[in-house]
Symmetry: C2
Subunit: 233 residues, 2 copies
DNA sequence: GGGTCTTGAATTAGTCGTACCTAATGGGTT
DNA sequence: AACCCATTAGGTACGACTAATTCAAGACCC
């Protein structure tokens, strides 16, 4: 999807990464480079490159005479998009989804407030367009079209905040929203109240009303949190 | 500091990483693996491992027949602790410090609210202890001792929130706080109002008053933001 | 003549295999 | 208990080959 071909070492990571993040190797487990190279039928050089990447993600630690040991969750670079994708694809999905939704509830309201102050005319226009798209697809089980606009909406907000750390969470929010539509329950049309809130946020940002934009966005993310509690109390 | 010896490839990263994040190579610049290997006097294998790590941080992109091209800032994994350290150490420091402080202002209040609900007795005790330590060192230019307790305080809050994404920001907050004391202006004793707020947050968490803990922490982070505006408007 | 398409040579990263070095470990000796 | 040494697995280096992609020269069509 995001990185189609990173060479052989990427192919290795595509299976080894998810295995580790899924907890198949408990913390402290030791993997031998040679064995892994054999298992994936690649040279040691390629395997070493893969290990280096896992190491930079703090998933493993490589030590002489002992091997490649799996590190505890608490050490993982949980903000690495690759790690997030792996965890979302595996058994850790519910836990990960909850963590990310809580993160959203902290970040997005503040981002919306900043967006109200910093958004350009183009960004305001894009925001309104997204909100209208959401309205247009809010009825009649057009979930996919709705999702596209929903993702775009939140992405614009995060970008318009003018903060690079917020902007970088665009992909994360996209994953969470997509996950909610695709994997979790969302058979019905989206909550009309949520749709309205998005429209109002677009208005507030356009009007430069930071407080209002923040408050309204907080209502949106609160809704997302409550949704989680309903699914898994 | 954090990773003393990662081998030769780590040595290479220690100088190449900061160079890239400092913007010494503008986006689109091409680096050749062979030239880099020569420059750092390492084998191609080692240089390749280093490039793989930079690639996983989205700092560069490696393509055949073209070389290793530097990616635009917008692509960087700005949450990677390594990248954050590099940027804080270089010319990008002010920009990075501002981004991180804004991030703090979004995350910490919510984390404090959650901490009020989830903190264990040990965590409450640690929190109170930290707050007392801050009070004890708030006068008489004992900035270092104050800093230690300040960092510990915020770390406990983030951990006690029970959210792994928040917990992982402990190091970031520590860097920001340390930076404020060491590099930026902070000749005088800390603001008494801030000290009081920390004590009150500890109380609120202990009492399980989430709203109050969140509001008070928001005051703390607002203060940090205003501090930035005073330094660089 | 201007423009497009084809082809092939040059270039650079990708992969592999081997040989050797280094350090941490664990056991055996004094 | 202190020390030493063989073992082991990662660390580094090098050389050969592969494969993809760019770029330019030449053929071709309008």
């Amino acid at each position: 999807m995001s990185t189609p071909d990173r060479g052989l070492h990427g192919r290795v990571l595509d299976t080894l990464g998810p295995e580790i993040t899924a907890g198949e190797y408990p913390p402290g487990s030791v993997l031998r480079t040679d064995e892994l190279a054999q298992r994936f039928d690649v040279s040691r050089s390629v395997m070493r490159e893969a290990v280096r990447v896992l190491e930079s993600m703090q998933l493993v630690e490589s030590r002489r005479r002992v091997g490649v040991t799996v590190r505890p969750r608490s050490a993982w670079n949980v903000y690495d998009p690759e790690v997030i994708r792996w965890r979302l694809a595996g058994a850790d999905r519910p836990r990960q989804l909850r963590s990310l939704t809580v993160l959203r509830s902290a970040v997005e309201p503040v981002a919306a407030g900043l967006a109200a102050k910093h958004a350009t005319a183009e960004q305001c226009a894009a925001l309104t367009e997204c909100a209208l798209g959401m309205v247009a697809n809010s009825r009649g089980h057009q979930l996919e079209a709705y999702l596209v606009h929903d993702i775009a909406f939140h992405r614009v907000i995060l970008n318009a905040s003018g903060n690079e750390m917020f902007a970088r969470l665009g992909d994360v929010v996209a994953e969470v929203l997509a996950g909610r539509t695709h994997h979790d329950v969302m058979f019905e049309d989206p909550d009309p109240a949520a749709v309205t809130l998005h429209v109002q946020v677009a208005e507030a940002v356009r009007a430069g009303d930071a407080d209002r934009a923040e408050r309204l966005t907080r209502e949106i993310t609160e809704g997302a949190l409550q949704e989680l509690d309903i699914l898994a109390p």
